[in-house]
Amino acid sequence: MSVEQKSVVSDADLALVGVETPPGYHLVEAGAVRRFCQAVGLTDPIYVDPAAAHAAGFLERPIPAAFWPVIQVPGSELRRPELGGFGTRSMNAGTEFEYLKPAYVGQTLACTARIASITERAGRAGHMVITVLEYTWRDETADVVTRARLTGVRL
């Protein structure tokens, strides 16, 4: 007879879902973008040279598509579910980014974070808790420019 794992997600954990942090503000610095490009081997000059960006038809140097983790810092720590101390391992299972509006080097963007969902599942490796965190970046006019969903697995 199999023993079903009792839920480890408490009401207090579930109450954290949807609560958005205050915004953290980030000036997208040219030096930070240059260091990022060097680290990942991105050699297209549009990201670092304003003249090259203008010549290619951009208003300014665009932000590299994978740069967002550099400014993935909300205004205060996101409260994580305690899960009753469950699990010994945490894994970053995947990320999904949506690009909704162009953003450029030199802009100041606001980053907020919230827990989008907490679900439990019985997997091959046993009971697991899947937490999806959502980060949202808004520009100076409060338009959402980019949204990220990060899936974390606790088991």
Binding site: A32, R35, A65, A66, P69, V70, A93, G94, T95, Y99
Partner: protein, 132 residues
């Protein structure tokens, strides 16, 4: 239809540089002892580093970073850095899997595969690109 393949060789220097660039100093990406204590074979490539390679392959094909509408990656397997005595590379392959119209935009979906040197797909992903 396939997009051009992208191959990258990440060394421990690459991992250290990336850790500094994104200010994420999780030891499993630069301290071999810490990585092995965590049950890993060596330090491992950051998920976001691999995602940057996926993004580059798609943007190279799309012609502009502003054509990218969505990009997802799943970290299913670990990748270790290339060392002199054990060369490694990370290769991104992609295939157009769907085309459709939405809000007056022509969109294509690209199925992505980030693979290690032995051909094992460690980092599958998906991108949506708007055609001009």
């Amino acid at each position: 239809m396939a997009i051009p393949e992208l191959q990258r060789v990440a060394t421990t220097r690459t991992l250290a540089r990336f850790a500094g660039a994104v200010e994420d100093f999780a030891e499993i990406h630069y301290d071999r002892d810490a990585a092995m204590r965590a049950g890993l074979p060596d330090v491992i490539l950051q998920g976001y580093l691999k995602k940057a390679y996926l993004a580059e392959a798609v943007v190279n094909w799309a012609g502009s970073p502003q054509r990218l509408r969505r990009l997802s990656a799943q970290y299913r397997g670990v990748d270790v850095p290339s060392r002199e005595d054990a060369p490694q590379s990370f290769t991104v392959r992609g295939t157009v899997t769907r085309m459709w119209q939405e809000n007056g935009e022509k969109l294509v979906e690209i199925g992505l595969e980030g693979t290690d040197s032995s051909g094992h797909v460690t980092t599958p992903g998906k991108a949506v690109v708007a055609l001009g």
